[in-house]
């Protein structure tokens, strides 16, 4: 009796699993930085992708086929990233690519994706990574999150209307498209809403000492300073500013998320930043716990986007009922109400970005991250 049960079980098991494991896998490409200065984000993102794919594979894969990941490290080097994309499209023949949260790379990839025709679902916030012109998208580029303009405007609006700032200063890396776009939008919004930009300072890739720029800013006595930078630069600028006795509000984008406080401690106090994730969402909390259990470290926000971008891509494959990149692209454009960890995603076919994504403002006080709430910039 037992033996026959086992035999039945085996047959059912084999029949059930055969279509999955005998079938050609659906290949998904991932381009992330695993070894340069944004490696912490890249690793977190890759793990987010991995966790999403595991969930699908455990549920029997997609279209009766298992999902296989091809992960490439682009070392924060645009040329390496282009090589990786070409390899994914031409040799690995992936169906879709999950892109890195680095605007410089995605700006370069947009026209190439138009030729090689494998869609990229990314999280770069420079609007030009998905929009060829304001009315026409890059056909193969998609991004789930806020644009630089959203970040810059929300930060400026919050400083002016909620914190009462009249004089503002900006310091950013002129070589970082993302930082420069946020800075531009911030300045434009602030000037249109009656605030004054009293200092605008620049630096370059690889700089570690920002005291010269900060001395200039200090002399102008601003009410708040925008630091739209990646983790390492943002942490050093904030720390050096505090050392110099610049105690005013520092404004920033999502790079002020953990581990910022861990890196610079008290210096991170009196920071208000615009974020793309509300950390108190139940799905986000649950995912964070699973992540910590699996990898032993805290995720950065990129893990959530890595997960959600993968879900958006895989759901498009399901709807297309095909692993053909062109068919997936058409479906990506029609993405509607796909539930991720952070948001219920609907892609705007004109901008190729999430429709109606509202930023969250988070404050750092006494070394704690305090969610102030969803915040939409004041429009006049």
């Amino acid at each position: 009796m037992k033996k026959s049960l086992l035999a039945v079980f085996l047959v059912v098991f084999l029949l059930g699993s055969l279509p999955v494991f005998a079938a050609e896998p659906i290949k998904i490409g991932v381009i992330v930085d695993l070894s340069a200065s944004t490696a912490l984000w890249g690793q977190s993102q890759a793990r987010g992708v991995e966790m999403a794919v595991e969930k699908y594979n455990e549920a029997g894969g997609l279209l009766g086929r298992p999902i296989e990941l091809k992960v490439y490290d682009f070392k924060l080097d645009v040329q390496e990233g282009i090589n990786a994309y070409q390899r994914l499209a031409n040799q690995d023949k992936v169906s879709v690519v999950i892109g890195a949260p680095v605007s410089n790379l995605n700006l370069a990839l947009a026209p190439i994706a138009d030729q090689l025709k494998v869609p990229i679902v990314g999280e770069a916030s420079d609007a030009r990574t998905t929009s060829k012109t304001p009315t026409e998208p890059w056909p193969y580029m998609f991004a789930s999150q806020l644009t630089c303009v959203d970040y810059g405007e929300a930060a400026a609006s919050y400083a002016i209307y909620e914190l009462g700032a009249a004089n503002l200063a900006v310091i950013n890396n002129k070589g970082n498209a993302w930082a420069d776009e946020i800075a531009e939008a911030f300045v434009k919004y602030a000037e249109a809403h009656g605030a004054k930009i009293v200092a605008r300072e620049a630096f370059n890739w690889g700089d570690t000492d920002f005291r010269s720029q900060l001395s200039n800013i200090q002399r102008r006595n601003p009410d708040a300073i925008l630091v739209p930078e990646y983790l390492q630069e943002a942490s050093q600028i904030t720390r050096q500013a505090r050392e110099m006795g610049i105690d005013v509000v520092i404004l920033g984008p999502n790079s002020f998320t953990p581990p910022m406080v861990e890196l610079i401690g008290d210096a991170a106090n009196n920071v208000y930043f615009v974020n793309n994730v509300a950390f108190d969402l139940p799905a986000v909390k649950e995912f964070t716990e699973a992540y910590v259990e699996k990898y032993g470290t805290d995720p950065t926000v990129n893990a959530f986007f890595g997960h959600d971008n993968t879900v958006i891509a895989l759901e498009a494959i399901r709807r297309a009922n095909s692993a053909d990149p062109k068919a997936i692209r058409d479906e990506l454009e029609k993405t509607e109400n796909v539930q991720g960890l952070i948001f219920n995603y609907t892609i705007d076919p004109v901008t190729h970005r999430t429709d109606g994504f509202i930023p969250t403002v988070i404050k750092i006080e006494d070394g704690e991250y305090i969610t102030v709430g969803l915040y939409e910039p004041v429009r006049q």
């Binding site: 070894s35 340069a36 200065s37 630096f203 010269s212 720029q213 001395s215």
Partner: protein, 300 residues
């Protein structure tokens, strides 16, 4: 406040210069003997920063024991790198360019090794100094950079003593004009080279500790060696005094350009100055001031 700005910018420049100077001296020392720019210096800095971090956090000790460990660790590491990477090329009397290329390869290898082992994570030193900056009369002086300045001065003083008052120092200076003749005279060149690398590595160890304390520890920490490279070129390749003076010049130049013209053009200016020196005054600052360099007289 407005009057103070220039003074503050001068302090900023000197403080940046002291960071460059400490790295540049170690860099110039190896150049003076083996006549190549040793980019693996950056990875000794980076690895020393990890070593100091591990030591101070695990054994819960203060600044001085950690500094000692970094000095010994950095020195040992540099000697190991020399034995594995450079000695075989020297023994075969391979071209200088091989040493240069190997030094870059080693620095990349070690950077990626640390990334592979520990990931791109940032590690943080527990506070080893009571305060990170002094504020005097509206001016800010970063303490870590001041400590680097102090360390450069002390290290330089010891270095000069060793070079001019000890037998091994005389041997090092002899080797710095010509690596092969002292060998004929019975001087143990391998020992001279090892001691040179040890001193250079010890300086890298000091840099690693202080850089790690102020910038946190991550695999690309050694990247500042590029600035030291510029300083050694402007200083006159191989001249220790020239490297120090050029480091402060570079720190001041970068700070002033950033303050009064704009940070976007600063690196352009630094490299332009480097090119101008190579074209019109290849002996560098050392040549301008008549400091001994002993290297650039040697034609390629």
């Amino acid at each position: 406040m407005v009057k103070c700005l220039l003074l503050q910018q001068i302090i900023n420049g000197l403080s940046l210069g002291s960071v460059y100077a400490l790295i540049a001296v170690g860099f110039a020392l190896v150049f003076s003997i083996l006549k190549f720019s040793n980019f693996s210096h950056g990875s000794v800095i980076m690895l020393s920063a990890y070593l100091g971090l591990w030591f101070s956090n695990n054994f819960n000790v203060g600044l001085l024991p950690t500094l000692l460990v970094c000095i010994l660790g950095g020195g040992t590491l540099a000697v190991i790198i020399e034995k594995i990477g450079f000695k075989p090329i020297r023994d075969k009397e391979g071209p200088l360019i091989y040493l240069f290329v190997v030094s870059i390869a080693i620095s990349m290898f070690l950077q990626y090794l640390m990334t592979a082992l520990l990931g791109g994570r940032f590690f943080i030193y527990k506070p080893l100094l009571k305060t990170s900056a002094w504020r005097v009369a509206g001016l800010t002086i970063p303490v870590v950079n001041l400590a680097m300045l102090g360390a450069s001065v002390i290290a330089l003083a010891i270095l000069l003593y060793v070079l001019y008052r000890t037998t091994i120092g005389i041997a090092i200076r002899a080797a710095s004009t010509d690596l092969f003749t002292p060998n004929l005279l019975g001087i143990n060149i391998d020992l001279v080279v090892s001691v040179t690398f040890f001193i250079s590595g010890a300086l890298a160890g000091i840099s690693g500790l202080f850089l790690g304390m102020s910038l946190n520890v991550y695999p690309q920490l050694g990247g500042l060696v590029m600035k030291a490279f510029i300083a050694t070129v402007i200083g006159g390749l191989g001249s220790l005094g020239g490297a120090v003076i050029a480091s402060f010049m570079l720190g001041l130049l970068e700070t002033m350009i950033t303050a009064y013209i704009g940070g976007a053009v600063t690196p352009m200016v630094s490299f332009a100055v480097m090119i101008l020196f190579l074209l019109f005054k290849p002996e560098g600052v050392a040549g301008l001031l008549g400091l001994s360099s002993g290297t650039t007289t040697q034609k390629l």
